[in-house]
Symmetry: C2
Subunit: 506 residues, 2 copies
C-alpha cells in the first residue's frame, strides 16, 4: 500500500497484528455478540462489515450487533442485506435494515443510548465476543484513537473478549486529541462524574486496550460517510424563529441569560435551522452539550454564538467531510467528543441544566410524544438519546412541522399511537404555527394551548371538537374517548388523510 | 397550654413569633402559592390548613398548593372540601380531592417528585408566597427540625417570601437527628452530590431559615396521621415470591450479590408483602434507597435483612405511630430522611444502581406502564416518584395482581390507556402468575413473554389472539390494530368486563 504503518501503529505490540478483512471476518461464529464503533455514520468500521456480509452470502450464520447508534451503507445496510443480523441494539436509521425489522426478519431493541454501556457492563446483553473499532491511530501508549465518533467503543473494548481494530489510514490525523475517554466503574462502586462545565476534559485521548485482546488489525482507506445536507427552508426557519422567541421570553423572565444553558439538539433539518437561526439572534457564548454535531456548528463557532461544543459524534455533509482535517485543526480547542454514556448521562444533563430540543413523529394534545413508530406499528429509527435528554433536561422541547405528507397528517393528534416521552417530561412544543409552553399547566389547559398555538389551521377545529366532546361525554382529569382516540390514524389508513370525513383518491 | 415552649423553640429570635392558626391563615391572599411540608400524610401541618379551610367557608379565595406528596384529611381533604385550591402540585391521594380534580373543579399537575425543587428554584411555578412547615423543634442554631417527612420543605423554606412554622409539641423528640438536609445550587452552578453509599450523611439535621422570613409559629398537638396497615394475603405473597425468584436468578447469574442492590419500593400491600417475604429469604444486609418507609422496615432491620434505609418520609400504621418515639431512638443509626430531590435524584439512583419496584394500574403487552389514569381519563393518585426511579434504576420492575375488580379487569392489556413509563424503561413485570424478564427482548418477544408468564389464564387466549391478529393483519416492529387497541377498555365500559363477548349484569 506504500504507507508507513508505523506512523499509525505507534506501539510495537500491535505491529504484527495486521490481517485482511476476510480473515478477521472468518473468526466470527454464529450467535456471537459484536460491539461495533459507529454513530450517525461516523466512526464505523467499513472493510470488516463488508467482508462479513460477503461471507454471509455464502454461509449460514447470524450475529447480534450492538453499536453506538446508526451505521451506514457499508455496515448496517450490507449486513442487513446479507441477512446476518439476528438482533440489533440500540439504534438504526438505514432504510434496508428498517424494512427487515418491520417485516419481522430481524429483532431490534430500541434502547436509550445512555443505557447500553450499563447493560453491557452488567452482562444483561450477554458478553461481547468481538469489539470492532475504527481507529485513526494506535498511540505509543497503546491507546486506540477513535475517528469521528466515540459512541460505546470504550465499554465494548473494555468488556469484549477479543478486539478487532479497523485502522483507517485516510482518517484525518487531526482526530487525535478530539476525544475525552472515560469508562465508569460498575454501579454501586463508582464515584461522581467529575465534570462541572461543558468544556472540561476528564479522561484520556484514546481508548485503553490490552494488546493481548487485540486479535487483528484490518486496514481501511474508506473515507468518512457524509449525511445529506439539510438546508433551512421557509418552514423550518419559522419553527426555528418560534423556538428562539420562546428562548427570548425566558431571558426576559430572568430564567435564562443570553448564553442560555447548554443546548442539546436532535439531528435533521429543523435542528439545523434552529442552530442556523441563532447566527442572527441575541444569543451568544452558548455551550452545546449534545449527542451529535452537524455542519452548522462550525459557522456558529465562527460567528461567536457557540463557544464550546461537546458531543459523541459528527454527522456532516459531503462538503464538510472534505475539509474535516482543516476544521479539526482549527476548532480543536472548541470541540470534544465523549463516550455516549457521558454525553447522555442523567447526572451531567441534570447538573449542567441542559436545554433539549428533539423532533417527534407526532405529539398529542396532552403533551405525550411519539418519536419512533409510524401509526404505532412501524418503527422509523429509534428513540436514540432523546429520552436521555428529555427526561433530565432543564427545559424539554419538541420541534416539528404541524403537518406531514402534504397535509394528510397532522403531527398534533388526540392520542399518540406510541409513547416515547410522557406528558410528565415535556415542557414546550414548537411548530411553524407557534409554541406552547405547557409548564405549570394541567392537562386540559395544556390541550387548549397546544391546539391553539401549535396545530395547523386545517386541523384546529377537529382537535377542538375532540377535546370538547371528550370533556362533555367522558370528563376526568385527562378527557379521552378511547373509542375515538385513534380515529385519526385509522382514517388515515382507510382514507389517506387524518381529515375526518374526507377521502384522498390517488 | 402548660408546656415550656423554650424546650421546642430553642433560639430566642423565634420565641415571640407564636400566633394562632387563625391569624396565620388570615395572611393568605387569593392567588398565592403555598409550599407545604408533608408526604404520605407524614409531616404535614394540621392546624394551619384547618384554619385556612374554615376561612375558606366564609371568604372567596383560592391558592395553589405545592407539597412533597400526598397530604391527609386535615390538609388536602379539608382544603378540597372548602374549595380553596386552584392548582395542586405534584401528587395527591385523597378521595375527596381526587373527585374534585376529575370533575374539573380544580387543576392538578401530576409531576415527577424529583422535579418540583428544580421548578421552584427556577421560578417556573411562580414564587412561593408562604412556606408552611411542620416542625418538631427549632434548634439553638435556628434550624427547623422536620417531623416524619422532609419532602420539598428545604427548597420551599429557601425560596419562600414568608415562612410559617407549625410547631407540633406532641411530635416525638426523637425526630431530631433523623434528617439529612441539603439544598442543591442552581443548575449549571452546582457540583456533584457527594454521596456514594446509602448510609452517608451529607447535610445538616434541620432546615436553615432566616428568622426574619418566619412570620409566625403556629402551635399544634395533633399526632402523626397513620395509614391503613397492609397485611400480606395469599396473592400478594405469591407476587412477592415471584419477585424474589427473579432476584434469586440474578444472584445465580452473578449479576447481583445476596445483598442485592439498594432497593426502592412503592407503597401499598404488594410492596409490603415483598419486604415481608424477604424475612425468610436468602437475601441479607440489604440497603434501602427509597421514597417512603412503611411498617415492615423495622422488622426487616431486626431480622438482619436490611442494614440501612434512606427515604424522604414514613407511611406507618396506627400501631407503629404509637411506638414511633421508641422506634426512632432504637433505629436512629439505621435510618435517614432526605429531601425528595435527593432521595429521588437521577444522579444518585444511577450511581448507586438502585433496583426499583412499583405498582402499576395496568401494563401492556409491549411493556408500557400506566401508573396514574383509570381508563385513560380519571387520575388516581399520580406518578409520584415512580418515574424518577424507573427511568434511572439498575433494574426497573413493576409488580401487580394480574386481575382487578374480581376478574372484570385484566391488568395486562393490549395497549395501556395512559403511558407513564415507556417500553424503553421497563425491565421486569411481576404478577401472581409469574415474572417476565423483558430485558434484551424485542417487542414481539416481550409480548409473548408477558402474556405467557404474567397474564391471568382467564385473559391469556384473548391476549394471544390480539397479538396474532395484529401480527397477521398489520405487522411492523410493534404490531397493533389501532381500531382494537382499546377495545378491552371500551368493552369494560359498555359491558362491565374486559372479557370480549361477555357482559356483566349487575
Amino acid at each position: 500500500m506504500g504507507i508507513d504503518l508505523s506512523q499509525f501503529i505507534r506501539n510495537k505490540a500491535f505491529l504484527d497484528k495486521v490481517v485482511s478483512a476476510e480473515e478477521a471476518a472468518s473468526w466470527i461464529k454464529d450467535g456471537m455478540n459484536l460491539g461495533m464503533s459507529g454513530f450517525t455514520l461516523f466512526g464505523e468500521p467499513k472493510e470488516f462489515p463488508l467482508a462479513l456480509s460477503e461471507r454471509g452470502k455464502k454461509e449460514d450464520f447470524k450475529v447480534n450487533l450492538y453499536t453506538g447508534a446508526s451505521l451506514g451503507p457499508t455496515a448496517d445496510q450490507s449486513m442487513a442485506e446479507a441477512g446476518i443480523i439476528n438482533l440489533r441494539v440500540p439504534y438504526q436509521g438505514n432504510p434496508v435494515m428498517r424494512g427487515k425489522i418491520n417485516n419481522g426478519e430481524m429483532f431490534y431493541i430500541d434502547q436509550h443510548l445512555s443505557h447500553v454501556a450499563e447493560e453491557v457492563r452488567k452482562g444483561t446483553l450477554g458478553k461481547i465476543d468481538y469489539a470492532i473499532i475504527e481507529a485513526a491511530a494506535i498511540t505509543e501508549d497503546g491507546l486506540i484513537i477513535p475517528t469521528g465518533s466515540v459512541g460505546n467503543s470504550p465499554i465494548f473494548v473494555q468488556e469484549a473478549e477479543n478486539v478487532i481494530i479497523e485502522l483507517n489510514t485516510t482518517a484525518p490525523k487531526e482526530y487525535e486529541g478530539l476525544h475525552d475517554i472515560v469508562v465508569l466503574e460498575e454501579q454501586g462502586k463508582r464515584r461522581e462524574i467529575p465534570m462541572y462545565s461543558v468544556g472540561e476534559r476528564i479522561g484520556e485521548v484514546g481508548i485503553k486496550v490490552d494488546p493481548a485482546k487485540v486479535k487483528g488489525i484490518v486496514l481501511s482507506e474508506q473515507p468518512d460517510i457524509p449525511s445529506p445536507l439539510f438546508e433551512p427552508n421557509e418552514e423550518t426557519q419559522q419553527i426555528a424563529n418560534n423556538l428562539l422567541d420562546f428562548f427570548a421570553g425566558e431571558v426576559e423572565a430572568g430564567r435564562l441569560s443570553e448564553s442560555l444553558a447548554p443546548l442539546q439538539s436532535g439531528v435533521g433539518s429543523v435542528a439545523n435551522a434552529v442552530l442556523n437561526g441563532m447566527k442572527d439572534s441575541q444569543f451568544k457564548d452558548i455551550e452545546v452539550y449534545s449527542e451529535v454535531l452537524q455542519d452548522g456548528i462550525f459557522d456558529l463557532i465562527d460567528a461567536g454564538v457557540v463557544k464550546f461544543a461537546s458531543a459523541t459524534a459528527f454527522s456532516l455533509s459531503k462538503k464538510r467531510v472534505e475539509s474535516l482535517g482543516e476544521d479539526l485543526a482549527k476548532y480543536k480547542d472548541k470541540i470534544v467528543f465523549r463516550p455516549q454514556e457521558i454525553s447522555n448521562h442523567p447526572e451531567l444533563i441534570r447538573r449542567l441544566g441542559v436545554i433539549s430540543f428533539n423532533t417527534p413523529i407526532e405529539v398529542d394534545i396532552y403533551g405525550n410524544v411519539n418519536s419512533t413508530h409510524v401509526s404505532g406499528t412501524r418503527v422509523m429509527n429509534g428513540i436514540g438519546g432523546s429520552g436521555d435528554f428529555a427526561r433530565n433536561a432543564r427545559i424539554t422541547t419538541f420541534v416539528t412541522s404541524s403537518l406531514a405528507k402534504g397535509g394528510a397528517i397532522s403531527t398534533i393528534v388526540p392520542f399518540v399511537s406510541h409513547v416515547d416521552h410522557t406528558e410528565h417530561d415535556v415542557d414546550v412544543i414548537v411548530t411553524e404555527q407557534g409554541y406552547a409552553d405547557i409548564r405549570g399547566l394541567a392537562p386540559i389547559q395544556r390541550a387548549e394551548k397546544i391546539i391553539e398555538n401549535c396545530a395547523h389551521p386545517q386541523y384546529k377545529q377537529q382537535l377542538r371538537d375532540y377535546l370538547e366532546e371528550a370533556k362533555a361525554k367522558v370528563g376526568g382529569h385527562t378527557p379521552h374517548m378511547l373509542d375515538k382516540a385513534f380515529s385519526w390514524h385509522t382514517n388515515l389508513k382507510e382514507n389517506g388523510t387524518m381529515l375526518l370525513g374526507e377521502k384522498v383518491t390517488k
